[in-house]
Symmetry: C2
Subunit: 361 residues, 2 copies
Amino acid sequence: MKITAPTLLLDKSKCLANIQQMSEKAARSGVSFRPHFKTHQSAITGSWFRDFGVTAITVSSVDMAIYFAAAGWKDITIAFPYNPRETERLKSLTSMAAINLLLVDPSTVRLLGKSLDSEVGFFIEVDAGYHRSGMTLDHYHEMLDLLDIASRFPNLVFKGFLSHFGNTYKAESPAAVRNIYNCSMEQLVKLKDALSGTYGDLTLSVGDTPSCSILEDFGGADEIRPGNFVFYDVMQSRIGSCTPGQIAVCLAAPVVAKNKERFELVVHGGAVHLSRESICAENHENFGLPVSLALSGWSQPLPGCRVSGLSQEHGVISVTPEVFQSFEIGDLIGILPIHSCLSVACMKQYFTLQGELITCL
Amino acid sequence: MKITAPTLLLDKSKCLANIQQMSEKAARSGVSFRPHFKTHQSAITGSWFRDFGVTAITVSSVDMAIYFAAAGWKDITIAFPYNPRETERLKSLTSMAAINLLLVDPSTVRLLGKSLDSEVGFFIEVDAGYHRSGMTLDHYHEMLDLLDIASRFPNLVFKGFLSHFGNTYKAESPAAVRNIYNCSMEQLVKLKDALSGTYGDLTLSVGDTPSCSILEDFGGADEIRPGNFVFYDVMQSRIGSCTPGQIAVCLAAPVVAKNKERFELVVHGGAVHLSRESICAENHENFGLPVSLALSGWSQPLPGCRVSGLSQEHGVISVTPEVFQSFEIGDLIGILPIHSCLSVACMKQYFTLQGELITCL
């Protein structure tokens, strides 16, 4: 494979190891594994999960559900608040796969219930501290209202409670991740205990990548739904979810200019390739970690180097004098992305190190 | 047009007014108008420029040059440092259109010169203070080396000096933009004066959107290359390049949840739709400005409201109590993007208010 322009590379062996590690952990912990497919966004990468016994998946949009249903997945949770504008597309989807939805508001349940002509499962989305969407424990009576309305529609099947502990992404240490997980789970377990008598066997579905990577015991959870772990990224490595060596995707970017006064490499590789996601590390904005590329993969992050600037097509990489000397215009340099989900969404395709093209939704 | 999922809308009349205003200003100021097509990225939108007499364009990648050459554009400047890995594609491009390149390093000129079998124009890219790429005045002797090497290859035709004053994007006022422009132009004029005797009629090509929008007199410049002005965005409105009413693109996003304690609307519309670009306004991170949508277009930004959070598919909009009351789950809300170039790159297509689909590169 001759790389001439920014190209996203996948180290398939790292990716498979990430999938294996997480599926084994789920099995050890006695929880179901329903991986989120929003990171890799590809039917091909998705198919690799089948070898690890995965039969149920999570997605974040109706579009993504349709794409993976067409690829043969028969059990899909759309982990996004139900959008009443998509009822017709949702209905066509139910003939392709068993679908679970998130409901967060009693007022829309009646609308949905009236429209359905076949069964869908639903979870109540719980906000356990992330404060993005979902109902908090303070809304317990609204949850009961919601369940009461839903119970009038036999096509609406209550499955349990689902939560995304997205506040772990801001955690500064594994201990902080554990703390968020335990506080959040406590609330979910309380809800399940309160309603199991009435509704029978309910599922608690959780599982952001930091929690799933760092914890060994998912105490109380029935199902985990991590997504990012399939590729990991710089943000996850900083939280402590993975080592830099587990990051499975890397942007290959051609060096197009060098600035010797500032020890900077300019590359073709910008915000339309990596996304504008950044982290602040040691008071510097960082848009990615440079690595050396070889045919067999890439190196550990080059010490003292970072992507310090990013515009639409340009990346600026601040490097050490030694690294500066070792790259010439026309060379390729690798960049580990800050947020792999967004880099994949930007690039829409990637290549394995063996040169296999993997297309996305 | 029934909108069910996040959809980028274009107000064509605003877009045409933006093009007209800039093309008239260029004519008044006696400079050539070579608009950058990296913002709209569409052959259809590009075709509208022909009615304003535009025949020469700017792009930021070889891919984009090939796309617009195929759409019939015959005079294209690739405003990105020449990437030696793309020489073969560049050569095939020269049979489709007259191409200008940027050169920033003497060492690659020989390589390029040897490969070419037909003429390409080239500019020396000048760093006049932005410090992304380009040669500074301190590199005057390297510029002479570069020109000396280039002069041995008849297919390399020296056109002049090109600079992107990208530091205007960080300017806090129109006065600051004018100041950056004038300081930067002074350096370019000095270079042109020094080399016109030897090289004849040289072109000074400049033109970021803030400078081109705010200045009336481009003193010394021969050509302007603004791009973002075609749609503008929240960032440009904050700099003072445009009014919010001139912003020609808007993401229509379905409201999927409401949080009455925090006065927040949750929408389907996230980082994969708007990009992660943000500005900091009044100590708050802002990912977009909400507006009300109507069939005929959209309102001014809703006072006191902003997109306060953005994940892959979710947007969280902080609103006033009045606005909170006026939106229900299932409604559409509009979001003016912080950086329209990146939102277009994320969405890859947009619709006019009349329902015409406009596809992108």
